[in-house]
Subunit: 526 residues, 2 copies
């Protein structure tokens, strides 16, 4: 059994192009809990206000499988643990576990911290033992491998300080990501002789070896792996849990999450890409679109006869699928799987499944995609089932942005005309921007007919340019997140025109609200 | 000494999204020759006409450092080597060396080739020995590791057949990419006992371990590594030479290319991305933009004092550079670092630094951020230095998005009025969306005064809602990436209104083009 420790929300957000809102972080936590990772490192409450807010928000969340962890440094020099601002922030986060990181490498102790080697050991011991009386404590040995190569004896002393203070796991970090795989295995062998506590591994990808380094550490006895979804992280990223989990389970026969949960791996990877507003990496091992894609010829016929010939694992086991770049044979079962998930009643052999598949194929070809936009997908399924009536008919809209002087901000206004059951509404609204104005005008028009629309809030919208979908005319995909008092839901729109794409997503957002109210199941929507 | 064998032009082009013209392939060959790889596998002349054409084109090229190799299968069953079409195509390519691949795995011999195990051995022996009399011959043992795990004895027999026939190097291939690093090292140890010929390694990245697998194979005695630039290749790619070469040289102390040539690594990587028409992977080890990027605070001051603290190798050695990201944690040292980087002359104690810092703080408070928008930051610094004149004055713009029917896409139009040196231009343009229309109208208006604006392309734009920046009125940040024939630059805008924010970023993008042209230093801007 190996414990999975996810740090997408902490180390992952150190990546140059990744920034999650508090709400994003909460949604990712739920997804990680669902995947079944053992620990979710949520942030560093001592370092920024957003992380403090996140931990506050998490106090009302109930995780089923995962333990929430806050992250922070050892106490500063010359300060008691109980008086240290960072240690206080860790406890104030109210997370059931904390991870404290300390210095292993003399270079850092003497040059960066500027404290004596002994004082560093005391800082580690004090911090861990003070916290240990209050919460679960894990210890991250920063720069462990570099420190060990520099002075093995001192490096091991720092681990011993944490172990003696009661850290439940000692995590060896390759912070700069420079260690090669055979070095990891040699050093792990030696360290194993000195420690009784369980050992973890935290690898970075600067040598493009983070996954191999992690797996070899497990081979040498590590019982915890730290990593991130999709390998997000500072510089070249952290060890990629999406590659580590299947290797552990399918190749090394080591338990970590259930077979059922492993099937959610691809879905989880894509969800995190969406919230990070990044394109999915097509060639990503196990979960990428190309990971099990086969080109024509003998290769394909061989792989169809016996997938083992050209596939190192069965794609279904990680929620991916074989792609043969000729015709699409699968998909049916996906639809049925999704239908069940949303409580939509479709029979396996029905026309509806075929309709949904056809429409889906057409829409995906146009650049739609439904990770993070499950409400749009549910509407699509229900349209195919003819369960969903249109709530209104658009007669036209116009959105005007005007800037009259250099030092005056642009102003947005939307005019809309629509019809519900023969009654025409023609109205207008201002907005912070064109999408906001259009949103405001649409709601204003609809509220007369559907008062519950007032409850809907636009929580987030994300815009992505889809390169190369159609030659030079780049398409734009808009993801909108909406919520009311009880639920949150995502919708999607695609067009050459960001306003058109936003319109599609906004309409779906409001249609979904009305549809949901009609269902009145009150079930949580992801 | 390890020999580098590049297969970007053969295995690299198996990737789903990569396609090179003959001319592209010739240009990449020159670049690889310049980098100093020992072998360039140019293609599989037996499999497609483009590769035949490529080898023809290469007959008039003079490579200084590299040996050109053509690739193909062993002869078919029941055909003499001299009569086999594939073998003939190899010789017809006129390349001084060929690589023949054969089957190692019984599964493939019996199920895919459908020949007896003995016949397969003969096919290998015949093909290699026939070719060996005419050109240099290398042997690729396809599916070697899977084959070895299945039947080690037979797997070794296939290698022996190639060795006996005179193959100069025996390359062990992990064709499905499923082998883990510790398996590679165990199997390499055993195989070493049976072979006298030099051994090579050819790894795929399906387990995200291709680089580690390659390095561990070298550690166990392999003297040739096969891989591709940027790890391009089928499914999840091949072993990435851009990560392997620096690890060999800088970490393992193994010679392969000169120090001078190693400095061309980043340039080579970027060149190949460009010809593949793919975005450069920012987080790529060693050569990516983020590989040596540091965020603010203590971290930056530590890395500036001693790069070793947070950098596993010196970026200059691979032609990359340290980047200090300007973010809300910035201090004086970041500003000075940036100023130097952009060739802006600021003295450490000057008023300007204070001005830039103050303006930066104010702007960041409003939601600006300069990661990925270095051009906007450079303009900001130069404004503080009063070095940068405004190129035009806006008199006003209006953007109109209109949708007249439900089944008709929205249409965008922009009207703009501006003034340059007393001359007023009033014009209008359509666009795919409002930003595109505004961009088109702005360029159209400016081109009259500044013809070089025509060279600028809008490459990407990203929109992000900044939740919680200012209560309920969510701000929007727009990042625009622009480019011309020589450079790429990023600019940023922030506002409540996406059009206003886009406007700011677009204006900066064009101002930067004009500013850059004025500087005319020819220095590369990242």
């Amino acid at each position: 059994m190996v414990k999975l420790y996810d740090t997408t929300l902490r180390d992952g957000t150190q990546a140059e192009d990744i920034s999650f809102s508090v709400e994003d972080k909460v949604r990712i936590s739920r997804k990680l809990d669902d995947l079944g990772v053992h620990f979710i490192e949520g942030g560093w409450p001592g370092s920024n206000p957003r992380d403090i807010e996140f931990f506050k928000a998490m106090q009302s969340e109930r995780l089923k499988n995962s333990v929430l962890v806050s992250f922070g440094a050892t106490r500063r020099a010359g300060v008691k643990a109980k008086d240290d601002a960072n240690i206080k922030a860790l406890l104030a986060s109210k997370s059931p576990a904390v991870t404290v990181f300390g210095k292993t490498w003399k270079l850092h102790v003497l040059k960066a911290l500027r404290v004596s080697l002994d004082e560093n050991l005391e800082m580690i011991f004090d911090s861990v033992s003070y916290l240990k009386k209050r919460v679960r404590v894990l210890y991250d040995a920063e720069h462990f491998f570099d420190g060990y190569k520099d002075d093995p004896e001192y490096a091991v002393q720092t681990l011993a300080a944490a172990e003696d203070a009661g850290a439940e796991t000692i995590v060896l970090c390759d912070t700069n990501g420079g260690t090669l795989t055979f070095e990891i295995s040699e050093i792990m062998k030696e360290v194993g002789r000195h420690l009784k506590a369980p050992v973890g591994i935290h690898a970075h990808n600067d040598s493009e070896s983070a996954v191999a380094n992690t797996l070899v550490a497990v081979k040498e006895g590590a019982t915890m792996v730290q990593g991130t979804i999709n390998g997000f992280g500072e510089r070249c990223g952290n060890a990629n849990l999406c590659s580590i989990i299947p290797a552990l389970k399918l190749k090394m026969g080591i338990d970590c999450i259930t077979d059922e949960r492993l099937k959610k791996l691809r879905d989880t990877a894509r969800f995190v890409y969406e919230l990070a507003n990044l394109p999915h990496f097509k060639h990503q091992p196990y979960v990428g679109d190309s990971a099990f894609a086969h080109k024509g010829g003998i290769h394909v016929s061989a792989v169809l006869k016996n997938p083992l010939t050209y596939e190192h694992v069965r794609p279904e086991l990680v929620g991916n699928r074989q792609r043969v770049l000729v015709s699409d044979l699968s998909g049916r079962s996906n639809i049925l799987f999704k239908a069940e998930e949303y409580g939509v009643d479709i029979e396996s052999g029905s026309e509806v499944v075929k309709n949904v598949l056809n429409e889906l194929k057409e829409l995906e070809h146009r650049g739609f995609q439904y990770e993070g936009a499950e409400a749009s997908f549910e509407l699509l399924m229900n349209r195919a089932l003819k369960k969903k009536e249109r709530s209104f008919r658009l007669l036209g809209f116009r959105v005007i942005d005007e800037k009259r002087k250099e030092d005056e901000e642009a102003h947005a206004e939307a005019i809309i005309k629509l019809e519900v059951g023969g009654v025409v509404e023609h109205t207008a609204a201002d907005g912070n921007g064109p999408v906001n104005a259009l949103d405001a005008a649409l709601r204003k028009a609809l509220e007369r007919f559907y008062p519950s629309i007032k409850e809907v809030k636009l929580l987030d919208f994300k815009v992505r340019v889809l390169a190369g979908v159609q030659g030079t005319a780049a398409k734009v995909r808009v993801l909108v997140e909406s919520g009311d008092a009880t639920d949150k839901w995502g919708t999607v729109g695609v067009s050459d025109n960001v306003i058109e794409a936003s319109w599609q997503a906004l309409v779906d957002a409001l249609e979904y609200k009305l549809f949901k109210d009609r269902k009145k199941t009150g079930r949580k929507v992801k």
